[in-house]
């Protein structure tokens, strides 16, 4: 069994809860994991550390089975926040699909002209300036690994956004006549 030489780098990214997406700056590592039998080799290798290497559509991440109550609360809180943020981005003209590039100044402008977006972002961030508000939530998605910052103004949507979509599609809403689930 030959473990790829990039394994420490892969581990240090994934163990911090980050994703490795095929369309991000870590695309090289994505290729390394996808190369030949590497995924299974690494999955087996990392299983000894207690982390499970998982793959989604064009991205990899670690999962772990241990659960505690405080962690549960934190997870719920965090995901509730992602619903808010994703709601904001899906209300815009440009939807957060893989590869979409957002410019902070552009979003800020759209917020000024669209009252609905404006209300949403006001609820999301307490920063004073509109640009800072946008940068803050884009930064949050970047920390989560769903966006990646390309330059000061530009953020790119990563493959890992599929993870959020996946979780959202798993949620079933009680039928109240307003919406059917995909």
């Amino acid at each position: 069994m030959n473990i790829p030489k990039q394994t420490p780098e892969i581990f240090s990214i994934l163990s911090k809860g980050n994703f490795i997406s095929s369309n991000g700056s870590k695309g090289k590592l994505y290729e390394v994991i996808s190369y030949e039998d590497n995924f299974h080799i690494l999955k087996e290798f990392f299983s000894h550390t207690g982390y499970i290497l998982e793959h989604g559509h064009n991205y990899y991440y670690f999962s772990q089975l241990e659960e505690t109550n405080t962690l549960m609360e934190k997870k719920l809180e965090q995901f509730a926040y992602y619903i808010d943020v994703m709601d904001f981005f899906s209300s815009m003209d440009t939807k957060p699909t893989v590869g979409t590039r957002y410019r902070v100044t552009q979003i800020a402008e759209e917020c000024f002209s669209n009252e609905r977006l404006k209300q949403k972002i006001l609820a999301l961030s307490r920063k004073e300036k509109m640009v800072d508000k946008v940068a803050e939530i884009a930064g949050d998605l970047t920390t989560g690994g769903f966006f990646e910052q390309e330059d000061e103004d530009t953020y790119k949507v990563m493959d890992a956004i599929h993870y959020l979509e996946q979780v959202i599609s798993l949620i079933t809403i009680e039928d109240d006549g307003e919406q059917t689930n995909p």
Binding site: K16, Y61, S63, F79, K95, G144, E165, E174
Partner: protein, 406 residues
């Protein structure tokens, strides 16, 4: 006033006004008359002339390029909407001319047949290319979901139409193959062969396009559902109903990606071996500088020691060689204990403590007993130890064995 246009006139007219034509073509939604007149290369007169020759249309101060010109440019540059009518027209012409040629083998009809075949070849390829370009463009650039879906659906139908036309063409060619074979014309043969090849290739291409359209439509549908759902979830969340009306808690509980877990940053201790290395020294130096701990920094690490630096030490320990000591003792007449106790060792060996001298005495008495005479008598003496206590010590008197010397 308006005289009929010749081809030369038309081309000239277009050339003279090429800037305006380009601008009007780019702005299909038409431009204001004042905008056109504001251009340096345009005057009222010129504009009137263009309108008179129906190159452009004027309506309520809005100016637009004549449809025929637009279509001409689009067709020539292979841009714009996909139409199947061109292929269809050519197929009809082909059919007609085939019929005529069977009745009357006039070379004119053969020429028409060849031209139609060539045209089917080029129009099919062109429309397929346009189709692919438009599908890609729609998927990537159309912002509105409903329109995007409907457009893709339209292209899906167009694609079916083109496939049908390709099948029809293939049918006609294979039916006429026998007939073509009777015509001795090398060019016709190569045209037919080429067309057959192109038709097959385009059919493969269209199959690929079909898969792509379906994939795009599915993706869009899935994603627009997701976005709708996100917004619905957000609504529920705002009404505090997320917990009760959805299985949000269960789903989130079921996600065990590390991103939701507490981030345990792995901490490891510095390796001591590393700190002893040169690199480690550099690092500690850096940290110390940052913490202003370098008051003693004139103390540089010692330079590299010369090879063999400890040879002298080795000699010293060798100079305490007991052999020599015993030999010296054998020359004397004293007893071993007194000898060892009072012997002046060379300076290099330093001042030996009482304990060391005693152990030396014991050691010699054991190792060299064949050279010594143990008399059995016991000597006594007083010793002051380090704590200034007086001790009385008894010791065996050992003398050199004269016989052994011989």
């Amino acid at each position: 006033m308006k005289s009929p246009l010749t081809i030369k006139d038309l081309v000239n007219l277009l050339y003279q006004n090429r800037e305006v034509v380009e601008m009007l073509f780019g702005n299909k939604d038409s431009l204001n008359k004042s905008e056109i007149l504001a251009r340096e290369d345009m005057s009222d007169e010129k504009l009137e002339k263009l309108v008179a020759y129906e190159i452009i249309h004027e309506n309520n101060n809005i100016i637009g390029l004549d449809d025929r010109i637009t279509t001409f440019i689009e067709e020539f540059l292979e841009i714009g909407e996909v139409t199947t009518s061109f292929i269809n027209d050519n197929i009809q012409t082909l059919n007609e001319n085939l019929k005529y040629y069977r009745i009357d083998s006039n070379p004119k009809f053969l020429r028409n047949i060849k031209r139609s075949l060539k045209k089917i070849n080029s129009t099919t390829s062109r429309e397929v290319m346009k189709l692919h370009k438009n599908i890609d463009d729609t998927y990537k650039n159309q912002d509105n979901y409903v329109i995007k879906l409907q457009e893709l659906d339209k292209y899906k139908r167009k694609r079916d139409d083109i496939i049908d036309l390709i099948k029809e063409s293939e049918q006609i060619i294979s039916e006429a193959q026998g007939f073509f074979n009777t015509i001795i014309d090398a060019e016709l043969n190569s045209i037919v062969l080429d067309l057959r090849y192109v038709l097959v290739r385009n059919r493969d291409y269209l199959n690929e396009i079909q898969a792509q359209i379906i994939d795009f439509i599915n993706k869009i549908q899935y994603q627009s559902e997701i976005y709708k759902k996100i917004q619905r979830l957000k609504e529920l969340k705002d009404y505090e109903e997320l917990k009760y009306k959805t299985n949000f808690d269960d789903v989130v509980a079921g996600t065990n990606a590390l991103m939701f877990q507490k981030r345990n940053i792995l901490r490891s201790r510095l390796s001591l071996d590393f700190l002893h290395s040169d690199h480690g020294y550099m690092l500690t130096q850096k940290v110390a500088a940052r913490l202003h701990l370098l008051r003693n920094n004139y103390r540089k690490p010692a330079g590299k020691m010369a090879a063999g630096f400890d040879d002298n030490n080795r000699e010293e320990s060798a100079s305490l060689n007991i052999e020599g000591l015993v030999n010296k003792f054998l020359q004397t007449d004293t007893d071993l204990f007194q000898f060892v106790l009072n012997y002046k060792f060379p300076e290099k060996a330093g001042d030996l403590s009482l304990e060391k001298r005693i152990s030396l005495y014991v050691g010699i008495s054991i190792d060299y007993d064949n050279k010594l005479t143990i008399s059995g008598k016991i000597g006594k003496m007083e010793i002051v130890n380090e704590k200034k206590q007086k001790l009385k010590v008894g010791y065996a008197i050992i003398k050199p064995n004269r016989k052994a010397l011989v």
